[in-house]
Amino acid sequence: MTLSVDIRKKLGKFTLDVRFETAGGILALLGASGSGKSMTLKCIAGIETPDEGRIELDGLTLFDSEKRVNLPTRERKVGYLFQHYALFPNMTALENVMAAVSGSKAEKRRIAEERLKSMYLLDSKDKYPAQISGGQQQRVALARMLVREPNIIMLDEPLSALDSYLKWQLEMELVDIFRGFDKPVVYVTHNRNEVYRVSDDVCVLENGASEPVVSTHELFLAPRTLAAALISGCKNFSRARRTGPRSVFAVDWGVELVTEAPVPGDVQYLGVRSHAIKAVGAELNRAGKPADAASGDPGNRGAANAPLPATNVLSCRVGKVVREMFSVIAMVRPEESEPASDFARIRVKMINDKWAALGEPVPPGRIHIRIDPAEILLLK
């Protein structure tokens, strides 16, 4: 059971150019709004027609511009869960599901009721969509979609309309349904946490163009491109130049960094997640090494004076400080940075106590940060 998509479509200035393949499991299409995620789903469902390319599902050609194949939506056997579920408001839950079944009326009713029962919805079968909760609505929509036994399930931001409490439960329900479905699932979202929790593979979409499909694990732990790193939530970037097998020069930060991983020759950017950046102290000690404030106890001078490796330490000026309930986010600028560079801002997050230990520097106070060599993402 494979879905292979290779399509292009021009929409004014926007060009959709998407290519991916999935053999099963849950594939997330991850991208910001306007990146063409929903349009891709609509092309697969046959709601929109690509300008050119091919879409194949389970050996059946759904669309082929060269062979002039364009199956109508209703013959594609695709399950599509719309963002707001698109339940027919004038029909009861049962009627909604029955609308997806063919056969005699009695038969329809029997099949639909069975499906509703398996989704714990029998009690609400005679209620209208407006009369049931968001969770129930989602389940009715899923029932309506699954009762046709589609060859693929596609979901368009199914959880975006829900508040966070309901989201968790529905997400778990969804995953459970996906796991019991042995055919491809394509899941569109802009929420990377959702991707991390739900999907097996990820295809990142950026301005209509797709990146190669990678496993979710790879996207989050070892993104390979700037776009993938951005979308996986990494916030600190610098242009990078290889200076040695395990060292790289961060152009925007004006500093050479040591990495744990070997540096590829074509490295263009490096990225560091906020959690991999530690504030190490306000001033360097006499040995040219920073006084470590991480010990958190200002009375313990001994620990503060302990020698620390000076590698990957940047001296920075505090720019902006944002206080949250339990933590502080400081936007800092390396002192050696190119002043005009957009990438020169580094986001450091720490718990309140640690910020206090640093003496709560106010802009443009100086702090030192250290970047963990194991956490540097080398990007193209």
């Binding site: 594609r76 599509y80 707001h84 027919f88 329900e173």
Partner: protein
């Protein structure tokens, strides 16, 4: 015979509304699908609403008169439209059509397209989608269109007198009867017709508005399905095990 204008008016209005209803829905559906020339087609279809009815009547006379293109063809089949009830129905239809068409178009355009797509993905036929999904959702707009169309057709005067003439017992509707009564100085008769046409119009509008309000309420309740009701107890116990 004395009350023939009432029957004629109702007959003309009902026939014109029925024709406008079917045509208006059909054409609105087609126009919504148009990509190019949409505003041009829309303009042409709305023209009868903008033009003075007498002018519309004049154009209809040009078309259906013996010198006109259609009139010529119809005359060959021994069918006459001018000075007949058919003419009155045509005039009322043409003038009232834009109201139905525009209401239907507005309703269709505002309709949530995802519902149509959803219907397709679950294998419903286009006909089924139209009658079971689109029409119920567009009911309030279509009903208000019907009300307007009927009201306009019932009161039509300018185009009717031009195309169908003002023949008592044959094409003289209430509006024309009022005109004749006023023109010949027959005040009492004019007042009577005015009272009757107002009574009929009010009754029709009243009934249709009640109906429309009820429908709107029920559709509104349904439309709220898009917004999510937060109900923490909505999940049955079985799902907690997930």
């Amino acid at each position: 015979m004395v009350f023939s204008p009432i029957l004629l008016s109702i007959e003309v209005a009902v026939c014109a509304t029925s024709v406008s209803f079917v045509l208006g829905l059909f054409i609105a559906k087609q126009v919504v699908k148009l990509r190019r020339l949409k505003s041009l087609v829309d303009g042409i279809l709305t023209l009868p609403l903008v033009l003075p009815p007498t002018v519309v009547g004049f154009f209809l006379l040009l078309t259906f008169g013996r010198n006109g293109l259609l009139g010529d063809m119809l005359a060959a089949m021994d069918v006459s439209v001018v000075f007949t009830l058919a003419g009155a129905i045509i005039a009322a239809t043409v003038v009232s059509f834009p109201l139905m068409y525009r209401s239907a178009r507005g309703a269709f355009e505002q309709f949530d397209r995802d519902l149509i797509y959803a219907g397709r993905t679950i294998g419903m036929s286009e006909t089924k989608i139209f009658w079971r999904v689109i029409m119920p959702g567009c009911k309030p707009g279509i009903i208000s269109g019907l009300v307007l169309t009927f009201a306009r057709a019932l009161g039509e005067f300018g185009a009717t007198i031009m195309l169908a003439g003002n023949i008592p017992g044959k094409t003289q509707t209430m509006s024309l009867a009022i005109y004749s009564a006023v023109a010949s100085g027959n005040r009492e008769k004019a007042y009577m017709w005015v009272a009757i046409i107002m009574l009929i119009s009010f009754t029709c509008m009243f009934l249709m508005n009640i109906f429309a309000a009820r429908t709107r309420k029920s559709v509104k309740a349904g439309a709220a399905a898009g917004s999510i009701i937060k109900d923490e107890k909505s999940l049955p116990e079985g799902t907690a095990i997930l």
